[in-house]
Amino acid sequence: MSKRAVGLQVIGIGKSFGHFTALKDITLDIAPGEFLTLLGPSGSGKTTFLMLLAGFQAASEGRLLSDGIDITRSRAEDRSFGMVFQGYALFPHKSVAQNIAFPLQVRGVAREDIARRVDAIIARVGLVGHENRRPAQLSGGQQQRVALARALVFEPPVLLLDEPFSALDKHLRGRMQEEVARLHGEFGTTFVFVTHDQSEALSLSSRIAIFNHGRLLQVGAPRDIYERPMSRFVAEFLGEINLLPVGGIGHCARGTSGMFEEVRLTAPRHENLKDSAVLAVRPEHMSVSAEPPAEGNGVPARLAGTTYLGSAMRLAFATRSGTPLTVTLPSEAAGRILAHGQDFWVTWSFENGFLLPEQS
């Protein structure tokens, strides 16, 4: 299969609509063959950024390079990145095979080559037997496969996907995610994927780029972004997180510490903090005990409620000052702890917390 995946270099790209700034100073290197997810709430600029990559909209400033060649001003039809649209945008008057053949016909590929390549990709996306159906006769998942086949059949250097799973139910969504991951592996094309679903982003991507208010906040591997967010927005946007306001920041041999209520809490070193900051800890990294911890961090808190999640249990606590804390524990362990009454210590090890600037 084609391995002519290209890398894209985005240099200071911005986009304004009149007085409204949709994107501001985006700089990002997209590596050849990577699966990059653009993640952000609606209105964060992620879709606008995808449209700029596709060439459907022109950047107001900045440059876009494809393997070092400037394509900032080139038209969408010349860039010819494959694209899967939200809602698929299949041609309703064409059959499945005709839809998939379209980009090849546009390129003037010989008739017998078209037939061969269309048949091959129909087999790869599992649509054999549906060649002559119209899109309206297909299920959502099948339409999705046609859209993927149509976008991949001409072996584009980059495949752009705009919230492709938003119309599918949860079960189908999971299957299509696997399918897209498999196709990414097989085709080796650079995938740029837009979503607002954080779990989708975490499970699919080789890297995630987080957008908010038209700015690129952080780029990194899913694990890095989840475990080491650089701002409060990123920390809160990706999964659940506990945020403890701390004051009296000081540095010590172990790292950086600060006071929360009457307890000194320590986290890995963070240099650029003012006197107060926020200590962030994921609920699954916390534990609960009846005694203050011998080592690591601990905060006294009162149990406020529990939610049964099947394999796990979510425990809601409130500290003395009323700061809410959420802890997720395996159901079995939670059951044992709950027998001990209402007042506990919520504990975690030093390296599982991280400090963030108060405003971000």
Binding site: G55, E77, S80, A89, F91, V106, A136
Partner: protein
């Protein structure tokens, strides 16, 4: 399905229209239909003349020919106009609204005379051509088929614009983007995507314009100047100039039957369009 309780208000609200059509249209038409089989004597003689009379036949043939040409030109022009109206800039849209819909309020008669002013021997076009020295004498621009066609196209374009606009507005912008993203040129996108997606609108507009054009009277009468007579004018002549009410009535009935058949086709097509268009 509409529930039976909702049926009565619907009937009550539509009743005035139904009654009006019955008394103002259906009853007089039945009268005309009666003439066609009773005047000057009972029987189907007038319908035999309808089929056998070379004059009547040539008028019917001319009517069909002119209406076909008018329909093709009007729908093609309307397609271009509608495309700009639906997809153009704000200024273009305003301009088209003025040019297309303001003439709607002006009487057919006025518009036909407008064409006369433009095309007659001492009209604007001829005097301009002579002043510019392009022609020696006036050209015969009216009292012929082309002028009838021009006048009719002018009147009928707005009727084609509306069904075309509704078809063009339903085209999903993302489909056109998708085609561009796959490398298709503008021309290619138009032929392979936009035109096929708006075809139901084209067919609807074609039927509407053709049906309307069949009954045209004022425009061909004025611009044709009695030379390219069309069916409606022939009815008028048989009724009021050479009293031959029986034949006039038979032609009227034939015209109504043809129009009704075409309208039936249109209704059937509209239903199919609704079913096929559901996404």
């Amino acid at each position: 399905m509409r529930s039976s309780s909702a049926l009565w208000p619907t009937l009550a609200l539509t009743a005035p229209l139904v009654l009006f059509l019955a008394f103002a249209y259906a009853v007089p038409f039945l009268g005309v239909a009666l003439w066609s089989v009773t005047l000057p004597e009972p029987g189907l003689g007038q319908y035999e003349r309808l089929v056998g009379d070379p004059l009547v036949q040539s008028v019917f043939l001319r009517t069909f020919r002119i209406c076909l040409i008018v329909t093709v030109i009007a729908v093609a022009c309307a397609y271009a106009v509608t495309y700009v109206w639906v997809r153009g800039s704000r200024l273009q849209r305003r301009l088209i609204e003025i040019c297309i819909f303001v003439p709607f309020w002006i009487s057919l008669l006025t518009r036909a005379f407008g064409w006369l002013v433009l095309l007659s021997t001492r009209g604007i076009v001829n005097s301009s051509l002579q002043v510019l020295g392009l022609t020696d004498g006036p050209l015969a621009l009216v009292r012929n088929e082309p002028s009838v066609i021009a006048g009719m196209v002018h009147v009928l374009i707005p009727f084609a614009v509306l069904p075309l606009a509704s078809a063009m507005r339903t085209v999903d912008e993302r489909m056109l983007l998708a085609a561009r993203g796959m490398g298709a040129s503008r021309l290619r996108i138009f032929w392979s995507v936009f035109l096929p997606l708006t075809l139901p609108g084209v067919i609807g507009a074609t039927l509407i314009v053709f049906v309307f054009s069949l009954g045209f009277f004022v425009t061909p009468a004025i611009l044709g100047g009695g030379r390219s007579i069309m069916v409606a004018e022939l009815v008028y002549l048989r009724m009021f100039q050479s009293p031959d009410w029986g034949l006039g009535a038979a032609i009227s009935v034939a015209l109504v039957v043809i129009v009704a058949a075409l309208m039936g086709l249109l209704a059937r097509f509209a239903r199919l369009g609704l079913m096929g268009g559901g996404r």
